[in-house]
Amino acid sequence: MNIAELVKKGKFVVSAEVGPPKGVDIEEMLADAELMRGRVDGINATDQQSSVMRVGSLATCCLLKEKELNPILQMTCRDRNRIALQSDLLSAYIMGVENVLCLTGDYVALGDHPQAKSVFDLDSVSLLMAAKELEQGKDLAGNELKGSPKFCLGAIVTPGADPVEPQIIKMEKKVKAGAQFFQTQAVYEPKKFEEFMKAVAYLEVPVLVGIVMLRSAGMARFMNKNVAGVHVPDNLIDEMDKAESKAQKSIEIAARLIKEMKPFCQGVHIMAIGWEKKVPEVLDAAGL
């Protein structure tokens, strides 16, 4: 199922992510994915999230596909050069993976193998260009392909970046390079998000607003201090602080944010980060 097509059909698209495990015990991840069956339109499989070595996103997407869940393949430029990335794009296509989210990727030094050599041969824009080239029957070096793939290409943007203009300039480049939909970094300020959506309206590209579930007031403060482009306002931190059931409050806040931002965008992307089992409850509370 093509994410961009769903938006075109007028559907408010819902996606969520599963994190492949570090190790080969995949039961929990598959159980999490199973809970989302019928509730989400696509499931992102993260690509060595936070530069931490795990099971790969392509293998995970193949498993999801096998179970007739709609995978969104996350591909970063951190670990593979243009030969490996193009090859994996072809592999994804033959395995029936249609949606591909092209990202730069976190820096290696922030993960669990800081000694690794970082690649970044391509960047998010040129990875999109590469996928487009392949669709047109050629690789990046101009060689002809025996049969060409077709993808629904996605990309990411950080609406809360300050200044936001460099993000918008890059978003425009991603659209030009072939991005058909966007998922965003976590947003907690609907007013600011509305302004952002007005600023990028000229790009006419579907945006799925990113929701990261808050675990605690401490996590919110940590993100404010350490995560670029993410700002949790004080009133939400207070609410989390005072709540007796953090999980209940987290679900309530996520659902409220979705309801408030739904009118400005074309979908929502939920990053539960360990609370995948609560995603259906968030969707229930948000009326989705």
């Binding site: 730069t104 820096y107 922030l110 041969d121 824009v125 040129s126 260009m129 943007v157 480049k173 482009g229």
Partner: protein
């Protein structure tokens, strides 16, 4: 010794598009030895630009463009000419372009590519870095190198990892290279440059050419060979 070669004239002219009046900067150090940015090449460039209908506001050939104090000092007498120019064309290695960009609030175009010699660096003492990538992109980035200023070496714009203008890797000490590039291009009113769709870099150009793998005295040796032929 830093080895440079001139970019093809069409590429230089493309970077000067829409600009009429140009100030030329050369260097009596490595660029003169490489025959890319010495007095003779600066004069030749002046003539070629004039043939293409450009006005050359003035020129200077700095003793060592890799000395920022000297660059500032050498450009001072040309202040009026530089003010009247739309941009500067710097005919040196990537460090010279970045040094000039640092001291002049005008667009600085690179006229050369810096060729990799496989590890040796010049006598540079500033914070600017040149990877000798053989495919200079400083024209698109306001004279700040994206390969070295950005931790990930991204060429098409920032990732989402910058906070308060700092890179998430070493946020206490490392500026986000793309934040610097954005601020610089904004100041120069050239944010259009940031919208250029750059194709993946040709990293084969970062392999040192075979004549440079064993010597950095290549320019001198070439002159000697030319003298013998004559």
């Amino acid at each position: 010794m830093i080895i440079s070669e001139q970019k093809p004239l069409p590429e230089i002219l493309e970077s000067l598009e829409g600009e009429r009046c140009i100030f030329l900067v050369g260097c009596k150090g490595c660029a003169e030895a490489c025959h890319t940015g010495g007095e003779a090449q600066v004069m030749e460039m002046k003539q070629r630009l004039e043939e293409e209908g450009k006005k050359v506001a003035g020129y200077t050939v700095v003793d060592f463009l890799c000395d920022k104090a000297l660059v500032k000092f050498s450009l001072k007498p040309h202040e009026e000419e530089i003010d009247s120019a739309d941009s500067l064309l710097v005919m040196t290695c990537g460090l010279g372009v970045q040094a000039t960009a640092k001291v002049v609030d005008k667009v600085t175009h690179p006229a050369c590519n810096t060729i990799n010699v496989g590890g040796s660096r010049g006598e540079w003492r500033g914070e600017e870095r040149c990877l000798e990538c053989g495919e200079c992109l400083l024209d698109y980035t306001g004279g700040i190198c994206p390969l070295t200023a950005c931790t990930k070496g991204l060429i098409n714009g920032p990732c989402g990892g910058a906070k308060d203008g700092k890179c998430e890797f070493e946020p206490d000490s490392r500026d986000c290279g793309w934040h610097l590039i954005y601020e610089r291009l904004k100041k120069l009113n050239r944010l259009d440059k940031m919208k250029t769709m750059l194709s993946p870099k040709d990293y084969s150009k970062m392999r040192p050419p075979k004549e440079l793998r064993t010597t950095i005295m290549w320019a001198l040796e070439r002159e000697e060979k030319e003298a013998i032929v004559k």
